[in-house]
Structure formats: C-alpha cells, structure tokens
C-alpha cells in the first residue's frame, strides 16, 4: 500500500531517511539542505528513528564521521550542498577509496564566489571524479525514490552514492508524492551486512593503509571497475524497486526521443520545464525530444550516444561551467562518448541558470529554435552559448 502525501523535496528525502532508519547520520547545516539535519534531529529527538545523530562542527567532519561510522560497520547517511560539498572534497575520494557505501544527499547549489545560495550544479559536477555514484532527480518523487534505492545500490556496489536534486526548486517546493510503507522500505533495503568492518568481533582489521606504486594503481583500478559494474547494479535495484512500487527507473529517461529530429540533454528539474516545451512543439508537429540522465556516474557512455544518433541536431544543457574556455561538463562527457561510439550529430552546448538564474519555457524554446535552424542548414556556427545572456544565441 502506498501513501499519498504533499511534501517538499527535503521533507520527502528526510522522510525516506526516517523510513530507512540508518544507524548513523552525521551532518552540518548549509542552505538549501539544512532542513534534512533539522527534520532528522527531530526524528531522533522524538524517537521515531533509532539512528545516532552526530551534529558535527563542519562538513569536513561530517563526511569524516560518516567514513568512521561506515568503516565501523554501520549504515550511514548525510546531506549537504555547495561549499559543504566542496569542503568535503578530499574525504569524498577517501570514502570511495575505502569502498564505503555512504549515501550523501546533495541539494544542488552554486559555488562561491560570488556567494549565492541558489541552484546550479557546480557543486556535484565539481566532485564528479571522486568515485561517488551520482543519481540526478527531476522532482520530489524522484528524490524520494532515489534516496531509497541509493542505500541498496551503494551497499551492492561498495561505492558511496550522491543523490542530487535542485536546491530550492526541488528541495523547497511542495509537490504531491507517493510514499512507500515503512515495512516496504525496510524489506527493500534489508539489513546491512558488511563483509569487513572495524567492529567485527571475530577479527580486527586495518583500514586506510599506505599503498606504494603497484598496489595503489591496482586499488584505483578496482574502484574504476566497481563504477563500471555499478551500471548493472543500478538497473537491477531499479527493476526490483519497480516491482514493489510500480515506478520504473532507467539509467536515463527518454521523453518523446525515439522519433525526434531535434533533442536536448538536460539534468534535474529543468527537464520538467523542457518536457512542457517538447509537448508544445509536438502540437505544432515539430519533432522535438529530450533525454534526461539519471546516472551521471557511472556514465551510460554506450547507451546515451545510441539514443541520440538519429537526431539532426542536439543541444546539451549544462547548469555548471567547466571554465575551460570551451564548454560545460555534461557536454564534454556526452560528446566524448558520442565520438567514441562513432555517433556524429551536430551538437551545441548551452550553459544556463547559474546561481539560480530563472529558466522559463521561452528560454528552452529558444534552444529548440536554434536546433531547428541547425537541422535545416546542417551548420553549427558556434559551440557554446550562455542561455539568456546572449541575444538570439549570439552576442
């Protein structure tokens, strides 16, 4: 039996955490994810979870305490945003390097300077190579569902997972949402049984050694292999989740893409806005479509190019900038995957919405208009655009 509710993204995720009832949560407040430790410490204070909550003095200590608690053999979760995630940077590599299945909720927010509390993806994109699985969420339901699935994915893959959703746009907007029953979630995530952990009463272990050249390289390859294998694990866990809830998740979502001539690739909440634009274009018999990656780590590098190869023009939208004098990270990775799959489609990159700069349907329409022009002429005049900062795509 499912439960119908109206919750904000943060409430939905905190509710999932309550239902998961992890052994340890360590977190530090930062906008826009602050509500998670707030809600969660309320659950602790009122006895609705048995979790031990650690109110640490920084995000660096939040992830360090999570590393200690996870290494000790407990199920661990945390939440952060922006500067908090940036402060965790070195420890993220240690979490994945020690193969600890920590679930880290990320309410995406811009990075300083200038300081800005609103949404873009600079924070999670900045740590994309830290060895965390990254799942991106369009709305509250997806944030809730991915939080539940993340626990199982992390423990099977022996890799930490980030569940990323848009700060304020998703974290603070109230939507209708369907929750699972407590028992359903408990049955789905099961009991955590680590193979090797510090508090094992049968034997003591050492973790976090110095690796000299040979072993370091081998161990780093193990992590890379685990990330490759995570693709199948995400699929398996998602199928299992669909059986319980009826809600189906793939590595990415296609929207009216299969017969489309022009398409865009976009993450998180903007996909919702873009779907509306696709619908309006379809009413005018313009064959527009969309692809929304759910897993960015691991990158579906074989599958995504295959889904895009029939397009006449493609735009990849980035809500963060690599500041490399060229393009954003999503563009860079997907076009690279297309190249190695021998897929050539005329493709442009749009950086958009940095620091929460509002993205409206008209703005997305502008992207599709440009794509129609590229499809017609077969010419790409310019690779990277800054949406809404340029008049008609040119400045």
């Amino acid at each position: 039996m499912s439960i119908r509710e109206r919750l904000s993204g943060n409430e939905a995720v905190a509710t999932a955490m309550k239902q998961i009832n992890p052994d340890v949560v360590a977190a530090y407040p930062i906008t826009p994810s602050t509500e998670i430790p707030q809600y969660f410490s309320n659950f602790v204070a009122n006895g609705s979870v048995t979790t031990e909550f650690v109110p640490v003095e920084s995000e660096h200590s939040a992830i360090s305490a999570c590393i200690g608690a996870s290494a000790a053999g407990s199920r661990v979760m945390s939440a952060t945003s922006s500067q908090g995630l940036a402060l965790m940077f070195e420890m993220l590599y240690i979490a994945s390097g020690l193969r600890l299945p920590i679930v880290l909720i990320v309410a995406n927010r811009a990075l300083s300077a200038p300081i800005n509390i609103h949404n873009d993806h600079s924070d999670s994109m900045g740590v994309r190579d830290a060895g965390f699985i990254q799942l991106y969420c369009e709305n509250n339901q997806e944030a809730y569902d991915n939080t539940v699935m993340a626990v199982k994915i992390a423990e099977k893959a022996k890799l930490p997972v980030m569940v990323c959703y848009d700060g304020f746009i998703t974290s603070h907007s109230v939507e209708n949402i369907t929750l699972m029953e407590n028992e359903e979630i408990q049955k789905f995530v099961g009991t955590y049984k680590p193979e090797e952990y510090l508090l094992d009463e049968k034997r003591n272990i050492s973790m976090g050694p110095l690796d000299l050249q040979k072993y370091y390289y081998e161990h780093r390859k193990d992590i890379a292999d685990a990330m490759r294998d995570a693709k199948d694990i995400i699929k398996e866990v998602s199928e299992e989740f669909a059986k319980v809830t009826g809600r189906k998740y793939e590595l990415y979502e296609k929207y009216k893409l299969d017969d489309a001539e022009i398409g865009i690739v976009v993450l998180n909440s903007t996909a919702g806005t873009a779907k509306d634009v696709v619908d309006s274009l379809r009413e005018k018999n313009i064959k527009a479509g969309l692809l929304k990656p759910r897993a960015f780590r691991p990158l579906p590098y074989n599958e995504i190019p295959n889904e895009l190869k029939h397009l006449k023009a493609l735009a990849i939208l980035d809500k963060s900038d690599s500041v490399n004098g060229y393009c954003g990270p999503l563009f860079s990775e997907i076009t690279s995957a297309m190249y190695s799959s021998n897929v050539h489609v005329n493709t442009v990159n749009y950086i958009y919405g940095l620091g929460g700069f509002d993205v409206k349907t008209d703005d997305i329409l502008e992207v599709y208009n440009n794509l129609q022009n590229i499809a017609k002429t077969g010419k790409v005049d310019k690779t990277t655009y800054y949406l809404e900062l340029e008049d008609g795509g040119e400045k």
Binding site: T50, S61, S64, I67, S70
Partner: protein, 320 residues
C-alpha cells in the same frame, strides 16, 4: 596492583615489530606504552592522523596493528573519523548488534601537526560533542614526516626547515601553542601531559585513567625525533628525562578541573641542560644568543609556577 614494568610488558602487544619508524623515535614507544594500559580482555579501535606513525605502521599488504582495529582516513580528521566509529559502536550496541559483555575502547593518535594545527577543529569538535574517545598527541614539535617544518608546537627559537636559524632570525620566532590548556578549557574529565620517563609508570597510569574515564580525554605525550631534533638514536631516554628534569616538559594531569603535578624534580635543572643535547638548539649557544636561552628559561619558569599555582588553587577549591 601497584605498577610493575616487568609485569606490564608481558601484556599482549598491539603495535608489533616490523613497522618502519626510525630507531630512537619516541612515537612507537609512546603508542605501545599507551596501548599496554588497555585491559587484556578489551578491544580497541585506533585512528591515526596522516603522519610518520601512519605511513610507517600500515603499508599495504602489511600492518603492525595487532589486537586492535585500525583506521586512517586523512591528516586533519582522526578525531572526527574516530567519533564516527564510536557513534557506530553506540548505535550497534544499542540495537543489540554487538555483544553486551565485550568492551571496545577508542583511541586516536596524531602528531603535533595533525593535532595542534590542521586537526585542531576536528579535535575540538569531537571533544565538545563528548565522544567517549581518548586522543593522544605524540608531540615531536614539528612536521617530521615531510622533513621538519615548524608547527605551532615547535619550541621557541628551535631551528626547523621553515623556521631556520639565520642571520636575521634565530629559529622559530614564536613560543609554543599550549594545547593541553586549550583541552582543559573544553572541560574534559581528564587531560594529561606525559613523557617517556623512568620506568614508564607516568605514561601508563595516565593512559589507563584516560582510556577508562567516561567521556572525552586528551593526552599530550613528549615524543623526541632523532632526525628532526638532531640527537644520537640511543639518547631517546636521556632527552626525555632532561625535558622533565628541567621542567621544559612538565608532567601533570587535570582531573575534572583539578591540577596535579605528577613529578616535581628534587632539583630543577637549568633548561640549557636539555637544549644542549639537540642540534635544533645549537645556534642558541653562540655568545650573542645567550639572552635567547634566558628567555626560554623565563618561559619554562613561568609555566612551572603557573602549574604549581593551579595545583594549589584547584585543590583548595575542591576541598571547599
């Protein structure tokens, strides 16, 4: 049972041979002396900050840590990491996932860089949150793992590779940070300063109190470094003894705010007796630097007088 070194060394070793710490280094002796204070039947999880100790004792696929579990995460966060381990222990114990009758203790080791400098915030946070952990700083007064750079624990006027004795400045221009006092101000139930002194009774008894006191506890242990300080490896015990006998490194403890000086030299030696044993203070013995030794002596005397005064005042308060 009164302390007996011959009996105590029969206890199981928890840091065993095969590690690659230098001959004449105080750290492994300190670690073993501390871990011997564990009851034979108790287990422990040890966390280490990045540093000499960590890179020399756990080189994959080997480990010198035996009869304890060991974790190293990064340089500045041994305290936060161990606070997570301790929290997991409490959570799993509460849920009946760990045996009721088995006890595990939580001990962090960090050098002075990983403790007084880069690890200070993490340490302060863990202590304020009242985790049931013991933090032991093996203090050798500089960043030895990277080649003797000054830390906030480097003694006044000591020569290091980033506070060199030159033509204009004579070693480290600032006096030491007093972390032991900072820990006292965290209102910990037990704080102590110790050294490898005599038959190791002082360090053993303090470690035992720290480990078996409920709540967060802190030990600052004097840990000579032959490479960084410039002394022959066999002089480890002599240098430790001189540090104590000159009151350069006083031995004391603070139990619930009450000070006790645990060793009072019958005749307090002049500080230069300690300084002259190490190359890092060699430049102070030039004729023109004599006033610098006087300055160090004044600082040592001031701290010693402060400790005696605090011992008197806090004991009187306790009686009242």
């Amino acid at each position: 049972m009164p302390y007996n070194l011959k009996e105590v060394v029969k206890k199981q070793n928890r840091l065993v041979s095969g590690h690659r710490m230098c001959a004449g280094c105080g750290a492994p002796v300190t670690i073993n002396a501390v871990l011997r204070a564990l009851k034979e039947e108790d287990n422990a999880v040890v966390a280490a900050a990045t540093g000499c100790l960590e890179v020399s004792t756990c080189i994959y696929p080997y480990t010198s840590w035996k009869n304890v579990s060991f974790i190293h995460s990064a340089f500045e966060c041994a305290s936060a990491t161990l606070s997570g381990v301790e929290t997991a222990y409490n959570s799993l114990k509460k849920q009946g996932k760990l045996s009721k009758d088995k006890e595990t203790k939580f001990i962090a080791f960090g050098g002075d860089g990983g403790t007084l400098d880069i690890g200070l915030q993490s340490l302060s946070g863990a202590m304020e949150r009242r985790h049931n952990i013991t933090y032991v700083c093996y203090d050798n007064g500089a960043y030895m793992n990277t080649g003797t750079q000054r830390s906030s624990s480097t003694p006044h006027f000591a020569d290091t590779t980033t506070s060199p004795a030159g033509k204009v400045t004579q070693g480290k221009v600032q006096p030491r940070k007093d972390l032991t006092e900072i820990m006292v101000k965290h209102n910990l139930p037990y704080v102590a300063q110790t050294a490898l002194f005599g038959n190791l009774k002082d360090i053993y008894e303090k470690a035992e109190k720290a480990i078996y006191t409920d709540g967060p506890t802190y030990i600052s242990a004097f840990s000579p470094c032959p490479r960084g300080w410039g002394y022959p490896t066999e002089d480890l015990a002599v240098i430790s003894k001189l540090a104590v006998e000159t009151c350069f490194w006083p031995l004391y403890e603070i139990e619930n705010g009450v000070y006790k000086v645990t060793y009072k030299p019958a005749k307090k030696l002049p500080v230069e007796e300690f300084l002259k044993t190490q190359k890092r203070f060699k430049h102070l013995f030039k004729e023109e630097n004599k006033d610098l030794i006087d300055e160090i002596q004044k600082e040592v005397d001031k701290k010693w007088d402060y400790l005696l005064m605090m011992e008197e005042v806090t004991n009187k308060q306790k009686e009242d």
